[in-house]
Symmetry: C2
Subunit: 196 residues, 2 copies
DNA sequence: CCTACCGATCGGTAGG
DNA sequence: CCTACCGATCGGTAGG
């Protein structure tokens, strides 16, 4: 009798994927074992394979879930009728929000993607490169219009993206300031650094 | 007959440590095997253990070599008779220079240190925390003196440090702009973002 | 979802 | 510096 996927299968798989994201963040992809994951989910290691195909598939799911959200947001921002500075600010706030609300997955997609296998590895790299180019194009446009000071746009993108991904340190630390304050501070420093 | 350490032993060990830094950067600490390292050095895996005690010792050496250089520089900067902005700019240029001249080791110390074992793990964490606090104190002083705009100093440190460690993307990419240009651009964006 | 188990690979040691 | 090899652990499969 053919197996039919029910809603419960989907949910179970999502639970496993979410647990995997946390585990990969805690230990790193390579150091995280399927036995670790099984303990976290509350089953034997072999049982995981009724819901997933492989360890690498879990990493794949986490990475592309995040990447797809970013691409979607980029599309929305590009279509919006706003200034370049406003576009950059919107993207920055989105990145910061994702980092705070969706910490485990975003962290893993940012730091562990290199353990993907081809063709997903090249695919991910391409998506990443494309995203950064589109981000740089927005900055470039701002420079043309005189909104943003004359700087190397790809460098600015690098700075912005990496500065935000650094929130993980804040996330793990004492969290002396609130998420809103953190966001405000980051946007202030970075946007003022760009502004003409 | 007791074995006496010759200069050649030291050199051999340095060769292995350097190769390890490159390998750890390429594959990540956990994914890098001692057999990979042996191939890189040109010996059998077992032979490595005539020069080193363990894999973790290699990671330890890389991480603390880098950390010690930073602590030294911080001390020099603190003792210098300069403005806060100048101190920050000096530290930024130092970080960028280290990232460019000493890429493999700096990258590994920044991304793979969590695979250290205690007591070295706690030790490294403490050094890191202390370094950031001293960096934040410089910014704080600049705020008091009115050189720097009123922002959360620890957040600014996070941004600066992570933005610079993002140079690895530039390092691996096409390198369209030169190292000097990159440095100039980074300093411009970040320092202007801080300046009152 | 579990028991039982496989082949591969790992860090490291013994002994020369 | 090498050959030979060890115990542990890994991702994953067979079969129920």
């Amino acid at each position: 009798m053919a197996r039919i996927k029910t809603n419960k299968d989907v949910t179970r798989r999502e639970v496993i994927t979410k647990a995997a994201a946390t585990l990969f963040r805690e230990k790193g992809y390579k150091a995280a074992s399927m036995r670790d994951l099984a303990v976290k989910v509350g089953v034997e290691a072999a049982s995981l394979y009724n819901h997933i195909r492989s360890k690498t598939e879990l990493l794949h799911d986490v990475c592309f879930n995040v990447a797809n959200r970013y691409v979607e947001k980029m599309h929305a921002v590009e279509s919006s009728n706003t200034t370049s500075i406003e576009k950059i600010e919107t993207l920055m706030r989105f990145h910061i929000g994702q980092m705070i609300d969706n910490y485990e997955e975003v962290y893993v997609s940012d730091r562990e993607w290199r353990h993907l296998n081809d063709p997903y590895l090249s695919n991910y790299r391409n998506q990443r490169r494309s995203y950064r180019k589109r981000f740089a194009a927005i900055i470039e446009e701002g420079i043309q219009k005189g909104e943003i000071k004359k700087i190397d746009a790809p460098t600015a993108v690098l700075i912005i993206l990496h500065a935000i991904s650094g929130i993980d340190s804040w996330h793990r630390s004492q969290q002396k300031i609130s998420a809103e304050e953190l966001e405000k501070n980051m946007v202030t420093i970075m946007v003022d650094g760009l502004r003409q």
